[in-house]
């Protein structure tokens, strides 16, 4: 999607719109020691017009930093970091419109962009979130639902975001805001596991379509180059015969 980046992805969860781009590994700035594992540098930024209530300032506020850290924790188990020791991969997320489930959208976008950039990964990472208000569960909440869940005064309230590595059946990250009792949490976890499973075929399809397209484009370009090379060869032979004939 972003032509200047090594890999990129754009995810829309109904109204929430997230762009992610991934760049080549580069040297870690301000680094003295040698590290066995590569690092992931994640940064999440909100567009100034993305929040419905007020405009965001430029200084990365607490929410952006918290999201960046959460994203990094979710992606680290999925990426094969031993393949780029002492290097750092930049994963940059930009949120164009915030209508709930930002972290889930960001993790999905980052997973897709990393795959698009051909960064070696252990598995496809998918993520989903649920808002709990009282005894009701809202899967993939919108901003209004999230707002109510955070400020609710009921016994069980909050938002849980979970990201899963589907084939390996491992949970890579689990973030919870709010307070709820243990039964509620276990129920929500089962629901989230199922939801993440549902997303996987979509992601696989997108990646496969992209790879097939690139493959066909490459074949097409190679065929054209072969044709041109043949024309050039013929001309070269003509000239050689002319030179030899002289």
């Amino acid at each position: 999607m972003v032509s200047q980046a090594k890999g990129s992805a754009y995810v829309e969860l109904r109204k929430t719109k997230v762009v992610c781009s991934v760049f080549d590994p580069r040297e870690i700035p301000h680094q003295n020691e040698f590290r066995q594992l590569g690092q992931l540098y994640c940064e999440v930024k909100f567009a100034p017009f993305s929040c419905p209530r007020k405009r965001r300032p430029y200084v990365p506020d607490v929410e952006e930093k918290a999201l960046s850290v959460a994203l990094r924790q979710a992606l680290e188990p999925a990426v094969c970091r031993h393949f780029f020791p002492n290097y750092q991969i930049d994963v940059l997320i930009y949120i164009l419109e915030h209508d709930g489930s930002c972290l889930a959208a960001a993790i999905n976008a980052a997973g897709l962009a990393l795959a698009n950039a051909a960064v070696p990964m252990f598995d496809i990472i998918t993520s989903c979130s649920v808002a709990v208000i009282g005894n009701k569960m809202f899967i993939d909440p919108t901003e209004i639902e999230e707002h109510i869940a955070k400020n609710s005064t009921e016994v069980n309230h909050g938002i849980i975001t979970m990201s899963v590595l589907s084939q390996l059946k491992q949970i890579s990250d689990f973030t919870q805001i709010g307070s709820m009792d243990v039964e509620c949490v276990t129920k929500v976890m089962e629901v989230l596991l199922k939801e993440c499973e549902i997303i996987v075929p979509n992601i696989q399809r997108v990646l496969v379509v992209d790879v097939v397209k690139n493959f066909e484009l490459k074949k097409h370009l190679e065929a054209e180059t072969k044709k041109r090379e043949e024309i050039l060869k013929k001309k070269m032979d003509e000239w050689r015969s002319l030179l030899n004939g002289q």
């Binding site: 200047q4 993305s50 419109e97």
Partner: protein
């Protein structure tokens, strides 16, 4: 093969293409890339537009706020433009505070809008000396492939055209502000400023070549500071020329550039009008 050649001999690679009068993507020197425009895609913003000039993608979002006008200009509202070049748009930019280049582009864009007088700040004033609109225009570049200023201005104008100002009732005695969110009034826009970017290349036979709507690669080959020449037109009136680095221009080149910019303006106007009638279309 040509990728390798591009890395080892970048200047020669570029020169070879220019010598046969074509560019890397097959365009002529004065051909523009296709423009794709879409409005009202972001619901959290009061008006928005997404522009794709080739690969260059710019999203513009407008947010409205109320404020008290300045004491020395009591009947003028505020128009604040901001251009953001986040690190994800290109590998040239690192995450952190806005780079110098972003501030330069921001300055150019705000100068163009001010000089073209397309928005009258008096229209933004609700009650003189008490209440006025502040229009925050944020342009975010998602993919930087040359001709940033062009894309920014198109996105900005398209979102201005779809901006609806809510009507405000201000009670002077109780100083109560009531905003009717059934937004009604269209913002009055005088004219339609359009910017055209060129890259100025000095061919080794000391021939000056003007490349219209340069891509990132072409901009880098011609100096690296971005487009060398930016001309903005507003309904037949020239409203700004900026030249930043690159080769030197003779007067004929200058005139030719102005002529090309004029033609481009007409084409872009058609695109914007078509888009606003159909709410989302291609060039």
């Amino acid at each position: 093969m040509s990728e390798v050649y591009k890395l080892i001999h970048p200047v020669k690679h570029f020169n070879d293409y220019i010598s046969i009068k074509t560019r890397l993507d097959g365009r002529n020197f004065d051909e523009h890339r296709n423009i794709k425009l879409n409005v009202n895609s972001i619901k959290t913003a009061d008006a928005s537009a997404v522009v794709k000039c080739g690969n260059t993608t710019v999203v513009c979002g407008i947010k409205l706020e109320l404020a008290v006008p300045k004491a020395e200009e009591p009947d003028l509202g505020f128009l604040i433009t901001n251009v953001e070049l986040p690190a994800l748009c290109s590998s040239k930019y690192r995450p952190g505070p806005p780079s110098d280049y972003a501030q330069v582009i921001n300055n150019i864009v705000s100068e163009i809008i001010k000089n073209s007088k397309c928005i009258d700040l008096k229209d933004l004033c609700i009650v003189p000396d008490k209440l006025a609109w502040v229009v925050y225009c944020d342009m975010v570049c998602i993919d930087h492939d040359g001709s940033l200023v062009d894309a920014c201005i198109i996105a900005l104008i398209a979102s201005f055209k779809t901006l609806l100002l809510p009507s405000v009732n201000y009670d002077t005695e109780t100083e109560e502000i009531k905003v009717e969110t059934n937004e009604r009034i269209n913002l009055k826009i005088h004219g339609l400023p359009v910017a055209t970017s060129f890259a100025v290349y000095e061919h080794f036979q000391s021939q000056i070549i003007l490349l219209t709507d340069p891509t990132n690669y072409e901009e880098e080959m011609c100096g690296g500071n971005g487009s060398n020449l930016i001309i903005s037109y507003n309904k037949g009136l020239l409203c700004g020329i900026q030249k930043l680095g690159g080769g030197s221009l003779s007067t004929e080149n200058n005139e030719e550039a102005i002529r090309l910019a004029e033609q481009h303006t007409i084409a872009v106007e058609k695109v914007i009008n078509a888009c606003l009638e159909g709410k989302g279309t291609n060039k």
